[in-house]
């Protein structure tokens, strides 16, 4: 690939060798451009999505019939652990950070993130950390203690207990702890970067009150990242010390406490799940107004309910631990805080509905995923509120009812939100549309597939099926629902294949998109598709929450009709 020499104009003719960072590969390896880094995050995350998805299909294949023989117990434990770990740390978090990276500077009218090299660093640590984690398969010792690796199962033999027999003597738990440490470094760096960028690099006139909601949600998520991840780091470091250096933090026979792990982990783990969903909330809050041709209803309420969720998320962690024997007064406290956190979430859903009411809804690909998000996240929120009812939780925690909840909010929530974002911003990133027909096929396959896969799990939980069991006997009455669930999972797999096909075909021959294919409202659409390296020729001045709408429709511009 020859580089063009700098022209033979009247100026000068220059010819020289390319430096390493000018080669195609070198350009990607040394880039500090938020757009390139964003794309790298998203592409990498999708590779890991496939890995996690295949693991899910293996799980469902094993559980399709009673006494399955697809996976032996050790393999099953490894696969379900890696499914959770990969999907959470290597798919949902990176893809949402990737969107944030690409879109947030464009949305706020900045030229790049505040710390471009830190941005790149975050990506590379993610990549190598992810490879490290997956490399555990190569040495045959992938993590096998569940994605939250409770101690003392994750301890070595000595740490299990005096007469203990079976703990994690191999490297499995070490891969997990080190992998999550690396990914934590990446996330904390990214979080810092977003906070400074959003707080300091907004375009003139864009007060924090006029910032797009995706940026708001990314800001809250970034605070959650920097305050929650250290908890996981601490927990993992203590685990590594226990396993290798001879400390006894989680080992009861030497005076430690297994519950310490749970408290530390869930102090990270609960904010983590809000980290996984808040950017998706932001994406929905961007997509719905554009495709309903109305501004977002209750901007302030959505923004501040996001902040409220952020604060409250640090107060609810022990609702993952209702069965561990905390005193009733503590249970009551956490039940209360969990109830409180449901309120801002409900407010958001109502605001989204109000956005589409009295609108002019165009059912294009991003919109159908956004609407599907609302529908499915509602179910996840309802069964989550059910889990907050402590006595009921005693029966269904650690059963398939919880698996149903987490997948409704993670798949019906985060993943649908991610796909809404992909269909919405793909034309901006590549200059081409994704095919609308295939998007419809994918959506319906996914919607039906996910309900088939996860709705029966409510019933399985009610019928006594615990989580994380590698098989079940024939006579428990769980057979038909497990089979239904497997069919749904494979439908989702098919939908993902459709999506991949769509992406590849569209990259080759997709319909060309201009700079503003959806007639949108925010600044990222005021650039060519894909944007130039410098984003904006001149930095825009912002007078309302919808600067591009104002520019396109000056007679009815927001700044003329409303005061924000």
């Amino acid at each position: 690939m020859a580089i063009r020499t700098i022209g033979d104009s009247a100026t000068t003719t220059m010819v020289r060798r390319r430096t390493l960072s000018e080669t195609y590969l070198g350009q990607w390896l040394t880039t500090t451009d938020h757009k390139q880094i964003g794309i790298m995050y998203i592409v990498t995350a999708f590779f890991f999505f496939m890995v996690g998805g295949m693991e899910a299909l293996l799980i469902r294949a094993q559980l399709a019939r009673p006494d399955g023989h697809v996976l032996d117990p050790q393999a099953y434990n490894e696969i379900f652990t890696m499914h959770g770990t990969t999907m959470i740390f290597l798919f949902v978090m990176p893809v949402l950070v990737g969107f944030g990276n690409y879109i947030v500077p464009l949305m706020i009218g900045a030229r790049d993130m505040a710390f471009p090299r830190l941005n790149a660093f975050g990506y590379w640590v993610l990549l190598f950390g992810g490879i490290f984690l997956q490399a555990s398969f190569i040495v045959g010792q992938p993590p096998d203690g569940g994605w939250f690796q409770y101690a003392p199962l994750s301890e070595t033999g000595v740490g299990c207990g005096l007469h203990a027999v079976q703990c994690t003597t191999g490297l499995n738990a070490d891969f997990w702890a080190l992998g999550t440490l690396m990914l934590g470094v990446s996330s904390i760096g990214g979080g810092l970067n977003f906070i400074v960028t959003i707080l300091k690099l907004r375009a003139p006139g864009m007060s924090i009150n006029r910032m797009p909601l995706f940026s708001w949600m990314t800001l809250v998520t970034s605070f959650l990242l920097i305050f929650a991840l250290p908890s996981l780091t601490a927990a993992s470091v203590l685990l590594i010390l226990d396993r290798h250096v001879g400390t006894h933090f989680y080992q009861y026979s030497f005076g430690g406490d297994p519950l310490l792990w749970q408290h530390l982990f869930w102090s990270f783990g609960h904010p983590e799940v809000y980290i996984l969903i808040l950017p998706a909330f932001g994406i929905i809050s961007e997509v719905l107004p554009v495709f309903a041709r109305k501004p977002i209803f209750g901007y302030t309420f959505i923004a501040w309910s996001g902040v409220a969720i952020g604060f409250l998320s640090f107060t609810v962690w022990a609702h993952h631990m209702f069965a561990v024997g905390l005193p009733p007064i503590a249970q009551a406290f956490f039940a209360t805080s969990t109830t409180l956190i449901a309120i801002p979430t409900a407010v958001k859903i109502f605001n989204w509905l109000a956005t589409i009411f009295l609108g002019k809804i165009s059912l294009k690909a991003p919109m159908i995923f956004a609407l599907g998000f609302i529908g499915m996240f509602l179910i996840g929120g309802l069964n989550g509120a059910a889990l907050a009812v402590v006595p009921f939780d005693y029966q269904v925690t650690d059963s398939y009812f919880v698996v149903s909840h987490i997948h409704y909010v993670l798949f019906g929530g985060s993943v649908f939100g991610i796909f809404a974002g992909i269909f919405y911003w793909f034309p901006k990133m590549t200059g081409k549309f994704l095919n609308e027909r295939w998007a419809q096929v994918q959506f319906w396959l996914m919607l039906i597939g996910m309900n088939l896969a996860f709705f029966p799990m409510h019933l399985l939980g009610l019928l006594g099926m615990p989580r994380r069991i590698y098989t079940f006997p024939d006579n428990m009455g769980w057979n038909e629902m497990n089979l239904l669930s497997t069919i749904g999972a494979f439908m989702i797999g098919l939908a993902v294949m459709v999506f991949l096909f769509n992406v590849i075909a569209s990259l080759k021959n997709g319909q060309l998109a201009g700079s503003d294919p959806w007639d949108a409202f925010t600044l990222e659409w005021d650039t060519p598709s894909p944007p130039k390296k410098y984003n904006f020729l001149t930095l825009p001045i912002v007078r309302s929450r919808r600067p591009l709408y104002d520019k396109k429709y000056p007679e009815i511009a927001d700044w003329k009709t409303v005061t924000h």
Binding site: I6, L29, T30, R117, N119, W124, F128, D174, L539
Partner: protein
Amino acid sequence: MKKPVQLDAKREIVSQEQYEPQDQVEQQASQASEQSEMPEMSRSSQGPDASGTSQDVQGTEASKEESSSGEVESSQDIPAPQPPRAKKRKRKQEPVSEEEIMPRPSYWPLALAIALVIMLFGTIAQPIVMVVGAILVIGSIIGWSLERR
């Protein structure tokens, strides 16, 4: 220090656009600045006819690249055509090149990432790996800090 040619995502030489019609560009810009009232601040007005941020860069507009603190190009002091790599422009009056305002590529993030992963891997491998990793981490941090941007 070598300044690489700037390539955008489509592998076009962005910096060439800037330089190629340099004479014409600056003349047109100077004419424009005489004709219309360019605000003191570099930011274009917010009205519907704001300088075409939404369209692909045209030759004329290429010269209007301004940083957030740069100002309008003057009509007078057009320097003689310079080799594309002349960096030291007079900031006050010249359009700012992309190389000056965009973050430059760097391989230190990659280096530090690799070093960190090696160091952490060393906790379960031989201790020497951890020591080597730690040295690489320190080296990368120093290199990162000392990099001139």
